[in-house]
Subunit: 357 residues, 2 copies
Amino acid sequence: MKVTAVIMAGGRGERFWPKSRNSYPKQFLSLTSDGETMIQKTVKRLLPIVAYEDIFIVTNENYVPIICTQLPEIPVSNILAEPVARNTAPCIALAAAAVNKKYDDAVMIVLPSDHLIKYDELYINTMKHAVKVAQKEDNLVTVGITPTYPETGYGYIKFSTDENDDMGVYKVEKFVEKPCLDVAKEYLNSGKYLWNSGMFVWKVSSICKNLQKFLPTIYEGMLKIKDSIGTDSYEQTLSECFESFPSESIDFGIMEKADNIYTLSGSFGWDDVGSWLALEKINKTDEYGNYVSGDVITINTNRSIICSNKKLIASVGLDDIIVVDTDDAILVCDKEHTQEVKKVIENLKICNRRDLI
Amino acid sequence: MKVTAVIMAGGRGERFWPKSRNSYPKQFLSLTSDGETMIQKTVKRLLPIVAYEDIFIVTNENYVPIICTQLPEIPVSNILAEPVARNTAPCIALAAAAVNKKYDDAVMIVLPSDHLIKYDELYINTMKHAVKVAQKEDNLVTVGITPTYPETGYGYIKFSTDENDDMGVYKVEKFVEKPCLDVAKEYLNSGKYLWNSGMFVWKVSSICKNLQKFLPTIYEGMLKIKDSIGTDSYEQTLSECFESFPSESIDFGIMEKADNIYTLSGSFGWDDVGSWLALEKINKTDEYGNYVSGDVITINTNRSIICSNKKLIASVGLDDIIVVDTDDAILVCDKEHTQEVKKVIENLKICNRRDLI
């Protein structure tokens, strides 16, 4: 069966302000020294198992030109622009319509566009395995990540150790929301939980059955959209359907309710690059634990992240501080407060300073 | 007797990098919200007791245009450019030559150009008092500052409580170098020490006698310079004399050796503005103790100093951090490490990045 990939690239990435902006979010930035952007890496990583013409990207209208520029190998007809953002369920339904139109049934590997993976080969092996499991019956497969510490910023997947194929595939018992630290520690110690990475593998036919069962409005819309693909009414149908769709995540809308959900535990150096802290995980640091890029002088500075833009940044006596310069804004943030970068954006919104968001 | 003032304005002010540069040091910057530069404030403060035409400024050649621009009321002939820097003794000798040429004898109030004073009226009263004391015999008067905490960055003056005129004038027992913290605490508790502010008052004739006695080379040169003032040979004489002068401070060269040194204890809100920390002392801070200037958003930020230039600075979760943006460099510095800003400049020197120094 044909294997396709669907990359979800509509996110705003507020936590990477001031580099990420509404007009240019995280997935289109390069956060590694090789200069490749997150979405370019996501596509390149898939190529051993999915051809360019089978990679679909769902995004919002504003980002289509950026994607065309960064990924000229992807057919423009594979770039699917959502008229409005309605969370992941409608996004995946739109992609299912396009894949269904092109190939009738096929395997869909659904991926975020802005995660990093250290060990591409292990990743591909896991994905190959997931593709096999997804082709059996109507299995919905989610790729879980073996936790390495009690992270409170991720959702978790509880898997059942009773039924498994001895190849690292487990039946999912339940999905759980982001835990507090004590609960996260319990999860980690139990050995029965994986991080929910937001990566899914299933057949178009499998996800359609579940859409029909759990999200009938979206399913009906999906059928209309599919019929309109390639016709003059596509734009209008898409627009009308999306306006009518509820805003629903695939996790809550389907994965938490469906049967025959399986998970594979992936250990391929996954990072969701959720904040500036990721930079020191994915890049080399100096002997004092600093990650610096560009023109930077560090004096008595430890475990800091300093990204220069066009001018020198001198850091003196800093511990655990993030400094990011851009053309119109500078962020200086304590590493323990990265989640509060969103408050800067809220402030900018209140002050109607759209150019800086 | 005529009262003149001599403002020493040759300093480089490295501790205010990146705003202060070799080409534009601290005394020419505005560090207060009123927009007046340090040297403009120094001149303005004196006007109740010294006229513009009696204010002399000693500086280096490069700064003459800046002074002419910032202080157009000062006669250009009163701006004295040192050919090379030779510390304060030759600087004061040059000023003494100019004052001596213009007025024969006169009182000289010698002042740094880059200190701030909160209470101008108290300052003027102290200066008037100092001028009176300086006119008696050959007294050399130094204005000491009543210490308010055990500062280790200043020299101290020990005064004798045996002889005083009951008007706050004391005979100086000795000058002492910057102490360690324990010693500074002793000084503070003893009630017998003042901070050495580098402000002096004396007659030209008094300082000349002491130059002749303790620094004869400089005294001889001074006489030659005086004779050459207004002639074609001035530049050459000045240049030759300065080349031959030893580099000597007035404190070490004369004040620590001479007799009849008196001190007045000033309490007029003096600050030597020795580092970025001064900004929070001399300006208003917000309810969290932050001093911010320009376009700044602070989230969960306390006791920090943030100076924006042309773009937004967003600070998140910072405590006790200094952020200063300029056109070509950004400083981010912990408040406990301000003395290490000099290491940035050393680094720039080693890398031959003169444009940034």
